[in-house]
Structures are given as structure tokens and as C-alpha cells.
Symmetry: C3
Subunit: 447 residues, 3 copies
């Protein structure tokens, strides 16, 4: 899967993916054809979505700055970051001073081309490295050429819903805009498609809604078109920046302690991976819209090198040398385990709530009694704090008889397995497995 | 009372008390006759109690293992722990290898005979010390003799309800099974009877339900027969392991901060006794049933050498040398003070809630005003934290005028004296006494 | 204003202000005439107020102790603290031993005359310094003369209500009793009148009820006469002891975390003033009545040298040398800023709650996108704890775009600006200003 992911990353990287246009369509078609099937849909330009309007579609075929000798010193065809996204067509010769108002560069990162956009203000611009800027003749005239088109057409996005039986639905969203930037967010797009393919092959209790859309306007348009359905979503994740060389990070939901968060914390704990916890922030990605007052969907984000945090963020240095397919597959595995946990957070009701059931007659209790000894006490002392407040650091492999008893004790139809995990510290998988066994014994029922 | 308790302990210790049978009847009769009156009741074998069935009654008159010379090398008459409880009759000669499957011993405690039971699986067994085992000839044959009887009859328990007037009822439960083991639980049985006798002599506000029954099946059968009444119980204690030489311990209720817990914490604080706090654990005694999802009665347990925690637990070394009557009476005194606190946790409503009442005209305020000085402030600073969160370490003897004012301030019909204790740190007895005085002045009414 | 306040302090200091009588009337008239207008009202003696009765009015024209030579050794006209408030008339010659039962002094503060009262017990007494006492001849006879009158008349108080539009009302109460004592409470009386004048000049959203009344009986009588209105008060402050040389202190409301408290904490934080936090205490002033079970109005008190805490409290050393007009005006400024905060704690509802609104089309967002960088993350890390629990120590001047987004995110019609302050740490003024701007853009509505 690492090899496969490497091939896809290389194929998609050069495509100029903006918030609309043929680049997005091309990228989605490749993912659909080469990874897994999903629906590709279009929303017409001019569609009103709450406070916003879907903008005209932007396409670009060429753009450059040439010097007086006709030599292209900045060439869109060499790196699509050179053009400010949504630049209008230009074909004009101008002095450096005039041109400079349209140039974007980073003096403190002299080799990097920054990434800039102007979706809602009709203008044009070029991004270049500071070294390239220094080489330009400040007295000369330059020929500026942009062969772009801004016309009413549509915004393109992808969607696939995997139906479960529980009535609960989770969202996995990623953004398909951003041109040749690898970690943010080509990595997210590829992981999204791999995760979708994996889930299709599983038998799932819950439903999972996968969307891949342009950031901000795409999410807003999607929410607007799917208002009732989105209002019912239990929670979800925005997939972005998942394949960098640095640390794992997790951006919490706006609630900070939702199942969405607990499933991630528990997965990292189980894998013994340290991660940087990022509190919810209004800056970020589409969680801002999914969690807005009307929808309030709790959204988390697992990153490997979180956007904003790594030096080459939003520059040409966020390229295929920065990320790796291996890292991408590692993060995929984490997301996959997180989903296992979402599937495991069930709530049961004891079918024998009056006293402890007779475990012996079901073969769940040793026949010779009396031998529970100091071991029992030691065991308890280790993983119970005073007044049974368990330290959240534990993820204990417990004694089965113990787990049976705690499950029967807490299963009142309101306390979920994650709640019981937080009260006892026993591993969620173990709680899940023992609970399923008790269900087969008709001692627990799912609520 | 120490002397009296010593006599009873010695008389009861040798009796073979299992979950049913004549040993239990004999022990209950002695307590009833020599300590205090209560009802002795029987539940027929075969009675269905939720998920359980009352088992046949077990009685035993003799049991031994004899060597080929006829010498009894293991003899039930020397120590009733030698026989696995509920062993079926046997009269058979067999090789050591065959016999060994039925032997229980503790290699790491070579002098101790362990305590074992087999209530629900028809089998037999002997418990012996590891030293005894080592002396046996592994090549020899042995004569095994058990003269026991398992026949439908009944399960025996004791019960006494002391009626109060408040409508609130508390439970004091102990278990009468376990043969010659002193701390667990002969000590609990004796304390239970002494406490019952004490309470009968007092004028009590609340009702107290005292039950003495075989562990597990006894509690389950009792809950099943008294479902509606038990559902109304406010809380209670399981009395066990109360006379060891070691530290006091308190096993919290499953709620961890119920009045049942507060009354114990406060008593220990008042007596300046350090104790080991044990969080609620599903392992333990009948609290597991009393606190099960349907009943959810909060149950605490005060121990001196808690079961599981002391080395000789469930062995022949838990004998009359291990415990002392003096320790038993000390713990009795603690339980008695705990009950005082249950009686004192009243809730009042101010009859003059509009402003502070005129204390002067009732002789509750000094006639010459103006002299409250720095002392007042110093006093306050000492026993109030910021924002009046009192440290739970305090148990202050306060100024009476202060206590009057706080009582009148907080008595809104919802805030109990224990709540006021937690807000102000004043001793519960003092709050109680001053509240009763304010009641006589018609400034407070009981709710 | 310092100069003005100095003049008023000097004019009012010598007046004998008890809980009733012409001294109070005189003082209120001067404040009304020289500072700001308010209503002066009377409640007849004998009026029943809950558990109390308005006492007879007390007036005094002269009082002294003269030695056998006729020399006045203790003279009310030199310091009105010499007379126990509410002393009955006396004209008698007596031995020192007899007289001594009526003398009050402080052995550990030999220069200070204490302040004493006897409102509800008909008696008489003199207060004198311990040095004065020592000079008296213990064998001699003394002539005691008190020309006082206790007759049914009335209790006098001042009141002014400033009407706002929000329907919310806050209380500012001070007590006008206490004779020649400067910090407690002449300083409070003068601050009260200055604050009232200031508020009248402002455009206010809320209503403010200002009362100046004798402590205890005045507050009780006022509550009794205004029961329904007082039950609707949102909170308030008792103004006392505001001009000493020592530290600021704040006595919390009985709730401890009410808006009344938050507004004070925030003001002190903003002014970078350290203060001593005093938890709510039943000892104190009229908060005892305002917060009594029926009314439960949360009342705070800002002090500069809190009553009880400074050495010369309730003695003749609490005089104009102890306090300063400058300190008084400083505390006035704090109260004024606290009121600003009460006015700023608004709750808004987003008018575009579905997603983030299009800020760009309203000129609230930079036109060229993509440049939010590491700075954003650094900024956040600094002022957000894990899971967005902000440390209450912060009072951050934030980035406007950030504030816009957080306001729109949290404004769900239930979360007030103070709540948002506690979640984000941004300055309340800044939140208020940006919220008002968003209201002008029709993005927020006041609820």
C-alpha cells in the first residue's frame, strides 16, 4: 500500500487544484479510478449558500513573467504555486515598480515560493522565491502573461456514504483545493481515498459520510445542500496534513472531551504514540463551519506535522520530498483504529440487574471458591485511584472475571463502554469482547 | 464489654459455619441468647431468587484422611477448615496421586490451612498445610472418609428492624458463613450483635435494618424476598473484618461521596484516626448485590485489617490469636459514632428567611455592639479558603454566634447539616446542637 | 475631585451619625446639596420589619464625666465616640466602681477610644482611651451627665434609582450610621454619593438602585418595604471602608463566581492591582440581609483596608489622618470600571449561525489569502490551554479577525461576553467593541 500510495502522490502532485476548475475534476477522477469509487458532483456557480455564493470557475493554461529579452523568468508551468489562485487574465508589459505590487515572496525563506489566493477579489499576482526577486532588474520592464479564464460553470466535489445499521453517522471530510502542496493537503486527499476503500470492505455498525471538497466554500455549499442530514451527524474528522516527518498532533473538537476525542486519545495510548494536543481553535479548516452554532458537529483532526506548525507550510517546500508514503500509511492505520473504537463504543443494559448473576452456572466463575487473595487487592490498588477515579493514563489488560463483574455493574443502559473504560481503565477492546460474550450469555443487551 | 466479647468469640470460633446447616443455626442462637434478641428465619432449599436457587443444606459430622495404619493424618475435628465446604460424602481408599486432585494447600505459607468451598459443584476436598502435605507418603494409599449430608432443607439467617420516625432506613449487614476464621468474619458477626443491642437502647430518628446472612446467596435471597423494602434503603454498611491488629481501612460506597461515606470520614477525623481509603471495588462482599443496578444502595465497610489485605486472610492463621476483643470494641465504638452522625444529618428551613433575625431579643447576641474586631477576621482567615471552599481537613469548634448565623443563612430546606459542615468546617455535633437550640427558638424547622 | 472630596470628608467627619437622629439627616442633606440629588425618606419608629421593629429615634446634645472639681475629664463634644450610641439620659454622681461598669476601653491600644453601641438594650456608657482611664482616681466620685433623648420619631435613609432599559437592576448600598469613624464608613458614604453623581451623567443599559441607610435595621426596613423590587435585583455591592492606606481587598458574594465577582476580578486584573480575596463571610455588613435565604442577592464589597482587618478599626484612630481623599477617588475609579463591565456583559446571538459568514465581502477579511502562518499557531499556543481552558490570569489584546471569529462561533444566545472572555482570554472591552461592530454589520443580535 506504501508503493501504491507513492505512485498516486506522484501522479497527483503536479495538478493545479484550486477551489474550482478542471484540476479538481482531474484529481477526483484519478482517485475514483485508481483507488476507490465515489460520486463526483457539481454545484453551479452563482448558487447561494447561506451568506456565500459559489464563485465562477477558474481555469488556467499558462502564466509567466518574461524579461525584455523574452526569457520566462517566472513560469507557471514549472511550478503552479507561481500564480496567485484565481488570477484574472493579463497580457501587458510594465515597469518593475508596477509589477511589484503583484508579487508575493518570503524574505525570511529565500528559496520558497509562497502560496497565495484571491478568490473573491478580482486581481492577479505572481508568487516567487525571494532569490528570484533579488535577481530581477528593478529598472527593467517585464512582460506579464496570464492565460486564465473565470466563467460561470461549477464547483466540483466528491461524496460517498457507507450505510450502517445503528442510525449513527460520522463524517470524514477533506479538502481538495490547494495546488502543488504535499502535506497540506495532497496527503489528506490520498489518505481519505484509502480510508474510504478500507471501510467499504468492513462490516460496520455506524454510517460514514466521506466528502472531499474545496475548503470553506465547498464545505459551506455542502452544508447548505445537506442541512438536515448534516444536523444529524454525531461527529467527525477533517483529514489534513497527515504525512510529514515530524510529530503527531491532534486538534481537539470544540467540546474537548467528545467520543471523537476519546477514540483518538485511546488509540494513541494503545499504540504508545506521544502526540501534541492542540486545543480547538477557530483558526484551522472546515471544522469552523461544521461546528458553527447551527450545526455544532464535533470535529477532530489528526495530523503528522500540523498545518501552521511546520516551517514550509504553504510554500513550495511542502513538496514530495517533505512527506513520505510510509508516514501517510501510518496515519491511515491510526484513523482506522479510531474507527474501530467508534464502532466499539456501545451501551448495554444488564438483563440481570438485581444482584450479581450466577456466573458459575454459565462457566464464568471458578468452581472452587475462597482463593481470591492478596493478589486481588494488589491488582486493584494498582489501577484504581481513591474513589475509583481512574487515571486516564491507564489502558489495562484486566482479569476477565473482574471485567465481567464491572460490565454487569455499570451496564444500566446509560453508561457506554467508553464511560466504563474511563471508570475502570480496562482496554476498550477487552471491554468490547467481554461485553459481546455476556451478550451471547443473555446477560447484557445492547441499547 | 471486652471481656464479654472475648467469651463469645471463644464460644463461637470452633463452630463450622457454612452458608447453610446446623452450624449457622447454632451460632445465631448463641448470639440471640447471649447478646441480643433478633429473628431467626429460614428460606427453603430450591427457592428461586433472581438468577439463583437456594442450594441444599449441608451438614457434616466427621471427615478425615487416614494412612494405611489407620492413623488420622488430617482430621476435620481438629480444624474445620480441613474440609472443603459442601464436600459430598466419601468413604474410599485411594492412591496418593488420585487423592492429590482433592487436596488444597499453600506452598508459600507452609503452616497455614487454606479455606476453600464448592457450593455449586458436587465434589469433595481437603485443605491442609503444606508441611502436612510434605509428610505424606507419595507412594502410599489413604483412606478418605467424609460423613456429610446434602439434603433439601433451608438457608438460615437473622434479622431485626429498629423502627424510627424519619422514614429513612439504613442497612447493617454481615455474613455468617465462613467456618473457623476469626477476623473474616467471626469478628463482624459479634460486632453486628453488639451494635444491634446498643441501638435498641437508644432513641433513634431513623430506622435500622440489621441482617446476618450467608454471603452472596443469603444477600441475594434476602433482596429477592424484600425487594420493595430494600429499594427504599438510603444506604448502609457491610460489617466484616473488624478486629485485626493492623490499620483501619474504609471501603467507599460506589458513589464515593454519599452521606454513608461522609459520616465515616467525619468520625475518623473527629477521632483523629488515620485510615486507608479503599475505593469501591466490585470485588468484596455483598455490597456487590446491594449496589447492583436495580438496587443501587450505597454500602460502605469499615475494617481493621481489611479482607484480602492481611497475610493470613482465608487461612487457619486468621484465628483468635490474630484478632482481639479490644480491637473489636474499638471498631464498635466507631460504628456507633457513625450512626450518631447519620442521626445528626438533618435538614432545616429558616423560619425567618427574609433577613437575619433579631438575635438580641432572644438573648443570642451580645448587648453592647461594635466590639467584633480583628479576632473575627483572623478566625475566618484560618478556617475559610478562598470562595468559602473549606478544606475537608477541618473539624472546627466554632464561635456560637457564628454558627447561629451560618445555620440561619444556609438553612433553605435543601442544605443538610453535613452540607453546612462541608461549607463551613464546623463540627457536625456543634452544628446539630446549635440547630436544635434554634429550633427551640422557632428560628429553624426540620424539613 | 480629590480636593472636593477632602472638603466633604472634613465637613461630615465630626457629625454624630447613629442609626437614627438628626446627625444622619444633617449628613444626608449635605451630600444631597453638595454632591448630588437623591431622595431622603423616613420610616416611623415602631414600624414592624420582619423580625424587627424600627427603634425610637436617638438624639444627643451633650455628655460628659466630670471629676469632683467639676472638670470634664471625658467630653462628648471633643469626640463623639466617647458616648455609647443610644445611651439613655443620666445626671448622677457615683463612685468610680459604679461608673466603671459603664466604661469601655482598650488596654492593648492605650491611645484609642473604642466605638460601642447599645441600640436595643436601654443603658448608657462612655468609651475612653486606656490612658484616660489610668489617670482617673479609683477612690473618687464622678459626675456623669448625658443629655440624650430617645423618642418615637423615625429612621432616615437616602435612595435614588437610575433607570436603564435592559430590565436588569443592580444595587449599591452603603451605611450611614457610625459616628466619627473615617474609613468605616465616612469614606463609603462619600464614595457612594460621588459614584451616584457619575452614573447619572452616563447613558446606562441597566438600572442602578442607590441606597444609603443605617446598617442592619436600615437594610432590613428597606428590604421589608421594597420586598418585590428587591427580589428582582441581579446583584450589587455594599460600599464601605474604601480610603485606607493599605491593600485593596475584595469580599466575594456568597456565590463566589457571580458576574458581580467577575466584574471586580476583571477590573483589578486590567488595572494590574493585586488585592486580597476575602471569601464570603456571614460576618460583615448588610450583604447578610441582602443575601438571606429569601432574597439571595449576590453582594460584593471592594475595600481599601477592609473593616475588621486594620488595627484602628472601630476606634478613634480611624480618623481623617488614617484615610485620604486620593485613596477614596482611586477606589471610586475602580467601582466605576466595575460598572462599565456590568454594562458590557451582553449576550449575543449570531444572525448567520450556519457556517462562518463571508467576512471578506464586509471588509473584515484580508483579500489575499494563504498567508496565515506559524504566527497564528504561536499566538494560539500562548493563550490557550489544552482543551481551550484559558487561564484566568490572561487579559489578552487579541487579533481582531480572531475575535470576530470566536464571537461568531460562541454567540448562541446563551453565552455572554464574560463567558467568552473566560473561554478565550480576550479583554472584555475588546470583545464588547468588536461585538458592537458585528452588530452594526447585522452579524450579531443582542438577546
Amino acid at each position: 500500500m506504501i508503493k501504491e500510495s507513492e505512485i498516486i502522490l506522484k501522479k497527483l502532485f503536479p495538478i493545479c487544484r484550486s477551489i474550482t476548475g478542471n484540476g479538481v475534476r482531474q484529481m477526483l477522477s484519478i482517485l475514483k479510478k485508481e483507488v476507490t469509487d465515489f460520486d463526483i458532483k457539481e454545484i453551479p456557480s452563482g448558487t447561494v449558500c447561506y451568506d456565500w455564493v459559489v464563485p465562477d470557475e477558474w481555469n488556467i493554461s499558462d502564466a509567466y513573467i518574461a524579461d525584455s529579452s523574452g526569457k520566462k523568468i517566472i513560469d507557471y508551468k514549472k511550478n503552479n504555486l507561481h500564480i496567485v489562485n484565481y488570477s484574472v487574465p493579463v497580457n501587458q508589459t510594465m515597469k518593475f515598480d508596477e509589477l511589484k505590487k503583484h508579487l508575493y515572496f518570503l524574505p525570511d525563506m529565500p528559496n520558497a515560493i509562497p502560496y497565495r489566493t484571491s478568490y473573491y477579489k478580482r486581481t492577479w499576482g505572481f508568487c516567487l522565491s525571494y532569490n528570484q526577486l533579488k535577481e530581477m532588474d528593478k529598472k527593467a520592464k517585464y512582460h506579464v502573461f496570464i492565460d486564465s479564464a473565470l466563467r460561470p460553470a461549477s464547483l466540483t466535489y466528491g461524496e460517498k456514504i457507507i450505510k450502517g445499521t445503528s442510525g449513527k453517522e460520522f463524517l470524514f471530510s477533506t479538502y481538495c483545493c490547494h495546488p502543488s502542496l504535499a502535506n497540506d493537503n495532497l496527503s489528506g486527499q490520498v489518505l481519505w481515498s484509502f480510508l474510504l476503500r478500507q471501510l467499504k470492505a468492513k462490516k460496520l455498525r455506524h454510517s460514514y459520510r466521506f466528502v472531499i471538497l474545496p475548503e470553506t466554500i465547498g464545505a459551506i455549499a455542502y452544508l447548505s445542500k445537506n442541512e438536515t442530514k448534516m444536523k444529524k451527524i454525531s461527529g467527525g474528522y477533517v483529514i489534513t496534513s497527515v504525512a510529514g516527518p515530524g510529530k503527531y498532533g491532534y486538534k481537539y473538537t470544540y467540546l474537548g472531551n467528545h467520543l471523537i476525542d476519546k477514540a483518538v486519545e485511546n488509540t494513541f495510548k494503545d499504540l504508545k504514540i506521544k502526540y501534541i494536543p492542540y486545543p480547538f481553535d477557530i483558526l484551522g479548516s472546515d471544522e469552523r463551519h461544521y461546528s458553527s452554532p447551527f450545526f455544532r458537529i464535533p470535529i477532530g483532526t489528526i495530523c503528522k506535522d500540523k498545518y501552521y506548525e511546520y516551517d514550509c507550510y504553504h510554500t513550495s517546500l511542502d513538496n514530495l520530498d517533505f512527506i513520505s508514503a510510509k508516514n501517510l500509511i501510518k496515519t491511515l492505520d491510526i484513523y482506522s483504529k479510531v474507527i474501530d473504537r467508534l464502532e466499539m463504543d456501545l451501551t448495554f443494559k444488564s438483563l440481570c440487574p438485581y444482584c450479581e448473576p450466577n456466573l458459575g452456572k454459565r462457566g464464568l466463575y471458578p468452581e472452587i471458591g475462597g482463593s481470591i487473595k492478596q493478589k486481588a487487592a494488589d491488582f486493584k490498588k494498582k489501577h484504581h485511584d481513591r474513589k475509583y477515579q481512574i487515571s486516564q493514563k491507564e489502558n489495562i489488560k484486566g482479569n476477565k472475571l473482574d471485567i465481567i463483574r464491572w460490565l454487569l455493574f455499570y451496564s444500566d443502559g446509560k453508561t457506554s463502554l467508553f464511560d466504563i473504560y474511563h471508570k475502570t481503565g480496562f482496554q476498550i477492546e477487552q471491554l468490547y469482547e467481554v461485553a459481546e460474550e455476556l451478550r451471547r450469555h443473555n446477560l447484557l443487551a445492547l441499547v
